[in-house]
């Protein structure tokens, strides 16, 4: 509540409470100062008047209660806490009430507590620091500066807390920003005025492209900035504003492309893909997410022409990819090593059998395609390529049963390092335990995702920990509800040297103690995601360098 002392300033509408307080002359700052003054005085007199203090406690109990209801109308919570704390020291309350009662009404003539001059009391006259009177206008405005300073520091410390909390959510450390990042942000902001990006290195180019994608400013006029003839790899994460001609530009300007990643490419048409098939002769790696306009014949044509050189294919979010397209893929890409289908809705279980014709697969993803997944198909695929498979992602696999774990993964996946079985609600605790217990063919998993595998419990996860503790880097146990703290304790106690990212969201048993243990015992830990863990409070002491995200107490 900043007052500018003396009242001819125009003021906007205020709440009823503010008006009430101002009328009565109740000033939060004055109350606090008065309290602090009397605290000081009390501490000095404490030795002498201890007995008196005891007497005053009992006798003024009544007065205190009545006073508390009317007088302690302080706006800030901090003050309320302070007044609760000092319930034992009632001298202050007494004085406070007396003051309130005896405060002179506006219009009366008073003597200033400091300079002893006469002045007329107004609703805005400030109370003296000593609590024993009011100040005239000039003395009151002396303190206005100080009060402003105090407010400023309050605001700045609040901003600081906010920025630290916000940065936490962004998973960034709040550090001094690098000059490169400052420049990149500026360029991204003024991108429409930029003519040519010049020689700034591929890494920075990629960074700018990423920022532009985030700002949705990757458009027809800005995309040209990234197309230089020599580049071999291009990644655009948000192509929603690019028209089909711009997509074609990519191929005309960068014919030497070997790896192309286009996400959110909804405007890409058949003509574009045909053009790519024609021009991009060095292409070996493609990733198209959201190319829903591309029809089957177009896919078939593309694979017919370029299939033989493709090593990595990733297609996501399209319904126009069915058996015929898959057949063309399988027939033309015998050397394919990495295949990823995500939300390719029109493939069925029978179609996926065709994948058995890809003997060189080292990485397979069939995520969010649960209708197409069956135990038998997956087991057959694993029988064929399991021994060389490094990464397996079957997110959203509730249609799969324990058989996949025990008859598919366990016997064949010796080289597996990344395993993602998110939303595997049909997997049972015992089966997971049997998978990992004494799984000697496999040397240890690096990246494991078991989010929302709600039927797994302690036995399964403990078997996983015993198997892969020495190799785990990323572990996601989000929503694995049945876990108890014995598993978390085991995790902390298992010397997980390389564990750096851990997601333990919505696991009820995880509280402050568990999180402290984890941050202490896992030397490489950098990130703990703890959304929905209501038992973690701001008290938890996290080792420096470990970021804990998602605590309820981290408010912005």
């Amino acid at each position: 509540m900043s007052r500018n002392g003396g009242g001819s300033r125009v003021r906007g509408p205020n709440s009823a409470l503010t008006e009430f307080l101002r009328e009565r002359g109740i000033d939060a700052l004055a109350i606090r100062n008065r309290y602090e003054q009397t605290q000081q005085r009390q501490q000095d007199e404490n030795g002498i008047t201890e007995e008196d203090g005891v007497v005053t406690v009992s006798s003024s109990a009544n007065r205190r209660r009545s006073g508390a209801t009317e007088a302690v109308v302080t706006p800030s919570a901090r003050q309320k806490k302070k007044s609760k704390k000092k319930r034992d020291q009632d001298d202050e309350d007494d004085e406070f009430i007396l003051d309130r009662i005896s405060r002179p009404k506006p219009g009366q003539i008073e003597f200033c507590a400091e300079c002893q001059n006469r002045f007329t009391v107004t609703a805005y006259s400030k109370a003296a620091r000593t609590g024993e009177g009011l100040l005239c206008h000039s003395c009151g405005s002396k303190y206005a500066q100080e009060e402003k300073q105090q407010k400023k520091t309050q605001i700045s410390s609040r901003k600081k807390r906010k920025s630290v909390a916000a940065a936490l959510l962004d998973r960034q450390d709040v550090m001094v920003p690098k000059l490169q990042d400052v420049c990149i942000k500026l360029i991204a902001k003024y991108i429409d005025d930029v003519d040519v990006l010049g020689d700034i290195g591929e890494f920075n180019l990629d960074k700018i492209a990423r920022i532009l994608s985030r700002n949705r400013s990757l458009r027809d006029n800005t995309v040209k900035l990234f197309l230089t003839p020599a580049i071999k790899s291009l990644r655009f994460w948000d192509c929603s504003n690019l028209c089909s001609d711009s997509f074609k530009l990519i191929a005309s300007f960068c014919p030497q492309l070997e790896s192309l990643t286009l996400s959110m490419c909804g405007q890409m048409t058949d003509g574009v893909v045909d053009y790519y098939a024609e021009k991009l002769t060095d292409l070996h790696s493609i990733s198209f997410n959201g190319a829903f306009l591309i029809r089957n014949p177009c896919w078939i044509n593309f694979f017919n022409i370029r299939g033989s050189q493709l090593i990595k294919i990733s297609i996501a979010n399209t319904l126009r990819f069915d058996r015929s397209a898959l057949q063309a893929l399988v027939n033309n890409c015998p050397d394919l090593e990495e295949l990823s289908f995500s939300r390719v809705g029109n493939l069925t279980a029978d179609d996926l059998v065709l994948l058995l014709k890809l003997p060189k697969l080292t990485s397979l993803e069939l995520s969010y395609m649960k209708e197409a997944l069956t135990d038998d198909t997956i087991i057959e695929i694993l029988k064929l390529v399991g021994h060389q498979l490094v990464s397996l992602n079957l997110d959203d696999c509730e249609t799969l049963s324990d058989r996949v774990l025990l008859e598919g993964i366990r016997p064949y996946c010796g080289k597996l390092q990344t395993l993602s079985l998110g939303l595997g609600e049909s997997f049972s605790n015992e089966a997971l335990a049997s998978l990992f217990r004494d799984w000697d063919v496999n040397n240890g998993l690096i990246n494991v995702n078991l989010m929302r595998c709600t039927n797994i419990g302690d036995e399964g996860i403990q078997a996983l920990i015993e198997h892969s503790a020495k190799t785990l880097v990323i572990l996601n146990l989000n929503s694995v509800y049945p876990l108890t703290d014995s598993t978390i304790h085991l995790l902390a106690a298992s010397d997980c040297e390389f564990l750096s990212q851990l997601d333990i969201g919505f696991i009820h048993c995880v509280g402050d103690r568990e999180v402290e243990m984890l941050s202490e015992r896992c030397p490489s830990l950098q990130l703990i995601e703890a959304y929905g863990n209501i038992r973690i409070t701001e008290v938890a002491k996290i080792k420096h360098g470990v970021r804990l995200i998602g605590r309820q107490s981290d408010t912005i």
Binding site: M175, V176, K178, L179, V182, C183, I187, D193, I200, N204
Partner: protein
């Protein structure tokens, strides 16, 4: 350019731009830049002469870079509530190239 100072805190180094402007800054500030750090701590000519000739960076850019080095030094230990570092947009591209070279 103060030399021969035993305390590392007041040691200065010289950065020379392509058009001959010379900027004398604290050694500590120069160390914010990875490239400059390597230059001054390595076995090369620069570490002895305490002087670097930056033939690709002109005077105006170099001045901005020095400004940033001090800004970084000043706020290193104060996370949260760091004031923004202003850069005129016309300078942004060239400054990016320079800062990329200087690893800063």
């Amino acid at each position: 350019m103060s030399q021969g100072d035993s305390s590392a805190d007041s040691e200065y180094v010289l950065l020379v731009s392509s058009d001959g402007y010379e900027y004398s800054i604290l050694r500590k500030a120069a160390m914010v830049s990875g490239t400059l750090q390597r230059m001054f701590e390595g076995a090369g000519l620069e570490s002895q002469s305490k002087r670097v000739d930056l033939k690709d960076i002109n005077g105006i850019l170099l001045e901005k870079v020095c400004e940033y080095l001090y800004y970084n030094l000043k706020h290193q230990n104060n996370p949260g509530n760091i004031p923004e570092f202003d850069v005129p947009p016309e300078m942004a591209l060239e400054l990016l190239v320079a800062s990329d070279f200087l690893d800063v």
